[in-house]
Amino acid sequence: MTAARRPPGLQGLSVIEVSRAVEGAYCARLLADAGADVIKIETPDSGDQARRLGPFPRDIPNENASGLFHYLNSNKRGVSLNLQSGTGRQIFQRLLKTADILISDYSPAELAELGLLYEHCRVLNPALIACAITPFGLSGPYRDYQADDIVVLSLGGMTAATPGFPDFVVSRDEERPLRADTYAAGIISAAAAAAAIVAALFARMIDGNGRQVDVSQQEAVASTMIRDIASYSYAGIVSGRRTEEEQSGTAYAPNVYVPCKDGMVVIVTASEEAWKKFVEIMGSPAWCKHEDYRDTAARARNINSLLANLVEWTKTKTGAEITEVTQSNGLPCAHVLRISEVVNSEHARERAAFVELLIGDRVCRMPAPPFKIDGVFGQKHRPAPARGEHNIPVFCGLLGYQETDLRSLRAIGAI
């Protein structure tokens, strides 16, 4: 007797997504990229808010043309369902009974109100893995705090350390903590949550039980601060937006960010050999021989005078020239690229680092899945669903409603 070959990746697993932010949607997308059947639930009235955020082709808002919405929701199916209505809730419960995984990014209070907490879900489906991504987790004193990206990045320790380089252009006291203009906390916690969900699938394989997966965005962000945590725990160094004195406790110097002829460059010399090599690249100027720069500790102590000297050289070169001459000598230096330069780079093209999608009449490129596994992950790119696009296959095909039922459900605002 030969057993039927089991499907690859996460194919055959059913995921219900209830989200309004980046974290829930992107986490579910990662599972969709691995082959899971993700059913995204949107409210019938306004739909997901990413539909209104863009970017849109020619900046013309259109709920089916948001680049961000497509990025977050590729490879999913979409249904409209009103979880506030009693009937909508009943349909949702039937859907949960068919699911392996529930992903949500609602607040703990909303989860309780909508009956989405694991303790409610498990009654319906004991094998369900219910993953809640919340700003601070489902327990603890901040559980009910309001938050968005900048707040989570701040309470996770990242903004205090940004910009993370010593810089003589702007002093630390003048430059306030900073965030990146992206949904960093959302994407980071979604990646962590995707890993946690697969771990929970392994646990389910052992005992057959579903379980709660409780992912804290604050903890996911704090996890990214691990280098600074190490330096603080072992040597009391609070790296912060580092000054030169503080940098003396870190691993190597220079590791700096300085102006060049046409922008900014990162100069990193991670060992004495690397520093020597870099001095040669600069043409061995006399200042390098000074006692102040004899080893990494001395260079860190005298970082300001070192930077002043260093810039004399970097100012004479373009960023691309510095990248080329350092990288070809095995030094990890780099200049700051514009988005257009990364998108148009030969490297990105060769790596298929962006995937193409037609939105309206315009070709949109978006960041590709972060890795690829043959036949398993990151090779399928189906556009995000229109609002309610899969109502019929899901409600009729999966749950057994008749199309006539859908009309009355629509009439009472349930779908």
Binding site: P55, L72, A230, R338, V342, M366, I373
Partner: protein
């Protein structure tokens, strides 16, 4: 799944270890610096047995400062000890063919190989994917690097700072009138580490179902790009090059980080909708702001964001950051103090959830670190343990897993195969 033959001597293992998701999985790890060690440490916390192959002579990962007690040494380094919890260390001289064949025997009994050497190193050692797949057909092999194992930049070296610059993220971080900025967190490594953990779990799940192994070529650059869909899409759709906007947001206003009482104290505030704006005016006891036509609705507030930021700072500068956070949160406004790494480890939320852990190390003493950023019901809390001392796991790997005799081990030491 591989059956773990025996628990290494002297290692404390929780009695419910078999309930951990990755119990029975063995990983042979050639991880360096942060990117890969970050991920394999999470796998170890999920129950995998992670064997770190190290060099005694070139133990530079271990001697990266700072050090515990200011005492440089191979077992006191902050970086190494923080990135390699729960792993078993084995010291081999990979320049010797005999060491490579020992590693191959180990890999034949393992499930996963992970490496982040520079491009081509593993192939030169005879440890490339194709070679190892021949001895272990269902092997999962993950290569991690700054730019990937193919493409024009495959031989470029990238630390987090350079990858940040290459990704374009630095270009869109900073103030409109200032230079590009780099994020403080080692984000290319740590976000990469999270994606790698996901990739390995997914590959293992796939193998569990189909028996097939997998090859993963992870690039830090591509991990970073996933953080910035909007600037990429806006450029490709509308040829718009994003500039820098500081802490401002396209939707929420006010949205920023405001100076508080004391030195280097700050609070982040983000106001989403009209009711929250009203709550902010109430909580700060500035009802006149709510009446001010410059701030009447979102559109007006965006237009007058600079003036609004200044006004908010006249309030925040008189508050302790924690008090500002509390007052705003109690009024339903998203706000949070900017925590330094020192405050982070003392944060009551993180501590109450058991995320901050103390790990005892015989040479480094008791040191705080942070654990897994999630809780999975019905799965025992990770058994957080220290990093291995140099060579500590040699006996377990060489004798118990590979079955070498004491005499053979002595001979191999003499021949500089085992370090």
């Amino acid at each position: 799944m591989t059956i773990v033959e025996k628990i290494p001597a002297g290692r404390r293992v929780a009695t419910d270890a078999h309930k951990r998701p990755l119990a029975g999985i063995r990983v042979v790890d050639f991880g360096q610096v942060i990117l890969l060690p970050f991920a394999t440490r999470w796998l170890a916390w999920l129950g995998a047995e992670v064997i770190l192959i190290e060099s005694k002579k070139r133990a530079f990962q271990r001697v990266t400062p700072p050090f515990a007690h200011d005492r440089p040494g191979v077992n006191t380094g902050a970086r190494f000890n923080t990135m390699n919890n729960n792993k078993i260390g084995c010291t081999l001289n990979l320049k010797s063919p005999e060491a490579v064949s020992l590693v191959k025997s180990l890999i034949a009994k393992s499930d996963v190989v992970t490496e982040n050497f520079s491009t081509g190193t593993m192939e030169k050692l005879g440890l490339g994917y194709e070679a190892l797949k021949a001895i272990n057909p269902s092997l999962i092999y993950l290569s991690a690097s700054a730019f990937g194992r193919s493409g024009a930049w495959r031989d470029y070296i990238g630390y987090h700072s350079s990858v940040n610059a290459f990704s374009g993220l630095a270009q869109i971080t900073g103030y409109a009138d200032g230079p590009p900025r780099l994020l403080g967190a080692v984000l290319p490594d740590t976000v990469g580490g999270m994606y790698i953990t996901f990739a390995l779990l997914l590959s293992l799940f796939h193998r569990q179902r189909t028996g097939e192994g997998a090859y993963v070529d992870f690039s830090m650059l591509e991990g970073m790009l996933t953080l910035m869909p909007q600037p990429v899409i806006d450029y490709t759709l509308n040829e718009r090059e994003w500039g820098r906007v500081g802490n401002r947001d396209a939707v929420n206003v006010p949205h920023g980080i405001y100076r508080c009482k004391g030195s280097d104290q700050w609070v982040a505030i983000s106001v989403h909708r009209q009711p929250e704006w009203q709550h902010l005016c109430d909580a700060t006891a500035h009802p006149e702001w709510a009446q001010d036509p410059r701030f009447a609705d979102e559109w007006s507030r965006h237009k007058h964001a600079a003036e609004l930021d200044q006004l908010i700072e006249t309030w925040s500068i008189q508050q302790d950051a924690q008090d500002a956070e509390k007052k705003l949160q109690e009024a339903g406004v998203a706000a949070g103090a900017v925590l330094s790494v020192a405050q982070l480890l003392e944060d009551k939320q993180l501590n109450e959830r058991g995320f901050v852990v103390d790990i005892e190390h015989p040479e480094a003493g008791s040191r705080k670190t942070v654990g897994l950023p999630w809780k999975i019901g019905g799965v025992p809390t990770a058994d957080y343990r220290r990093s291995p001392l140099l060579g500590e796991g040699n006996d377990y790997v060489l004798k118990e897993l590979l079955g070498l005799s004491d005499q053979t081990i002595e001979e191999l030491k003499m021949k500089d195969v085992i370090e």
